[in-house]
């Protein structure tokens, strides 16, 4: 199970990284979201995986580590705030700069600048 989980985290990371490296704001935002998923799963896994151990006192015999859960919760909320900001910023950039390119310009005819 752990290997599968790690594979998913890795895949999400890779996909996030790839999309973040695109040149338009929308895929970048999507990439950041994927990266955030990867981060959350990763942080969550730092408390190890536990099945049937919801950390509610009195509900089971063994408990999952509650601390990473709380951390991920905080991370999700902060991530949401940040995503919201960057999305609106992308709109603003498009409005101000007339392009949704992350550099605020249209690419030159022979492809992008490196």
């Amino acid at each position: 199970m752990e290997a599968l989980y790690a594979f998913c985290v890795g895949l999400l990371t890779a996909s996030g990284v790839f999309l973040v490296l695109r040149s338009r704001t929308f895929p970048v935002v999507v990439g950041l979201t994927l990266l955030a998923y990867a981060v959350n799963l990763f942080l969550f896994a730092s408390g190890r995986l536990t099945v049937a151990g919801v950390p509610v006192v009195g509900q089971s015999a063994t408990y999952a580590d509650p601390l990473p859960q709380a951390l991920v919760l905080t991370a999700i909320v902060i991530g949401f705030a940040m995503t919201a900001f960057v999305v609106i910023l992308a709109l603003r950039a498009r409005a101000d700069l007339g392009s949704d390119h992350v550099d605020g310009r249209e690419e030159q005819s022979n492809g992008e600048l490196n």
Partner: protein
């Protein structure tokens, strides 16, 4: 016995989810995909409920409730986008 049934039910639900994904992938139209996604949400509710029964815990009930109550909002939003572009006007 119940465990066997639950395992079997899990298998059916997984199959259902895979089929949903299949429709989501092949489309052909955005509407089909939205429908597939919506179905996926509903199948997830079933999955969560089944999981609760299996684990003997009702702690996942609220999660299922949340999907039932809110899951359709994003579907509506996408539909509205396709219809009107601006979803809050």
């Amino acid at each position: 016995m119940l465990n066997w049934i639950i395992t079997f039910a899990f298998a059916l639900l997984c199959l259902a989810l895979i089929l949903n994904l299949w429709r989501l992938v092949i489309g052909p139209d955005a509407s089909d995909r939205i429908l597939a996604l919506d179905t996926m949400y509903i199948n997830s509710i079933a999955l969560l409920l089944l999981y609760g029964v299996w684990q003997d815990t009702s702690l996942f009930f609220e999660a299922a409730l949340l999907i039932a109550m809110l899951g359709f909002v994003s579907t509506i939003a996408v539909c509205k986008y396709l219809l009107r572009g601006d979803i809050i006007e």
